[in-house]
Symmetry: C2
Subunit: 220 residues, 2 copies
């Protein structure tokens, strides 16, 4: 199974490494990072970069994964968007992690579909004609979108389950010992204390600007 | 806070990316990959590599993270082991993910201490005078060891909690939306069906050989 993970300058490291680690364990998997700017591609946090191959290096990837991160700058990058439309035609699964779903939306692939993304950007999915769903993994046809950053692990395990059955997915889960026990239970906006949500929302607005939907409204 | 993540040829991608993603969010964090073989270092799965700086590029890292993976080949690498002993003298936290704890053990840092590792290697910790504990994150003094692959995320959140307090750790958790909901609940040997554990154990033995403790016994 050929798996193409789309990255770009400012991708989020864990968005792609979760799916990479899980999907590399599929039988005869070939997992590659691809980019419109091949070579070394820097993540959004200093010190992390991955080498990507050209977009067309994989003819017909069975699974396509779109990373999140500094997605905004690429929402009108026709090279990326037309590649997405093309590989989606023959993919078994087209997937995204975090704000990667905004790219799927910009490519026109989410029109009339349910989808999810990083909680901060959930309402922005409406800009692309999608129906936002606040769930960790959302499936609509052969498109599977995941919530923020770490959710790519859960999404990729779900893909393993669909492609190879439950026992295989269970073995992959045990192989990466994915038995989460974080010190707190604050991984979603519904579970985190209101002041923690407010702190982080202000922080994200300061670092990245307002959510895409607000920017788009201001521009029009 | 300076964070040094030790990698080597055959490290496991998610072992290091979980802690990288979490610890990069510490205030004024500088997180760098370091290696005895600086430059591009390949992971244990094809298609993934990270650029590492020389071991001594960070003078006195506050947090040291030792990745797991093809650890066996480096258990008598004196360059790595003496570096570990040196940085441990001044570190605030010395940590490991997966089989990274075998390296801490080989450096002599786990003698008489409780520690954990990837379930497949748990008993091997005894080779280094450590007391194996089957828990996701084990703390003994300023050494924090984590279980397999994905557990580095939980360990790093625990480090955030200790360094910056619970509200900060909660915000980081929400920032990476770590609200795990995998399709199955089979991430530990206690939870996975017996046949899944057997399948994976055979698979690991075929790919990596028997656990370290068995190899060491055969050699002596």
């Amino acid at each position: 199974m050929d798996v193409a993970i789309l990255i770009y300058e400012g991708f989020t490291a864990l968005d792609v490494t979760g799916p990479f680690e899980v999907l590399s364990r599929l039988p005869e998997a070939k997992v590659r990072f691809v980019s419109a700017t091949p070579g070394m591609v820097a993540a959004d946090q200093p010190g992390f970069g991955l080498v990507a191959e050209p977009l067309d290096s994989m003819e017909r990837p069975g699974v396509v994964v779109v990373a999140g991160g500094s997605t905004y700058r690429f929402l009108d990058d026709e090279t990326v968007l037309s590649w997405l439309r093309r590989v989606h035609e023959s993919s078994v699964w087209t997937t995204s992690v975090c704000t990667g779903s905004l790219l799927l939306g910009a490519a026109g692939l989410l029109k009339g579909r349910e989808a999810t993304t990083f909680w901060y950007e959930l309402e922005s999915l409406r800009c692309f004609g999608a129906e936002p769903v606040s769930r960790r993994v959302v499936e609509d046809g052969k498109i599977m979108t995941a919530a923020g950053v770490s959710s790519g692990i859960d999404m990729a395990l779900e893909i393993c389950d669909r492609l190879q059955g439950p026992a295989y997915a269970q073995a992959v889960q045990l192989g990466i010992e994915y038995d989460p026990q974080p010190p707190h239970d604050t991984g979603s906006v519904d579970k985190a204390p209101a002041e923690v949500v407010r702190f982080l929302r202000d922080n994200l607005a300061g670092s990245y600007g307002p959510p895409w939907a607000q920017r788009a409204a201001q521009r029009s």
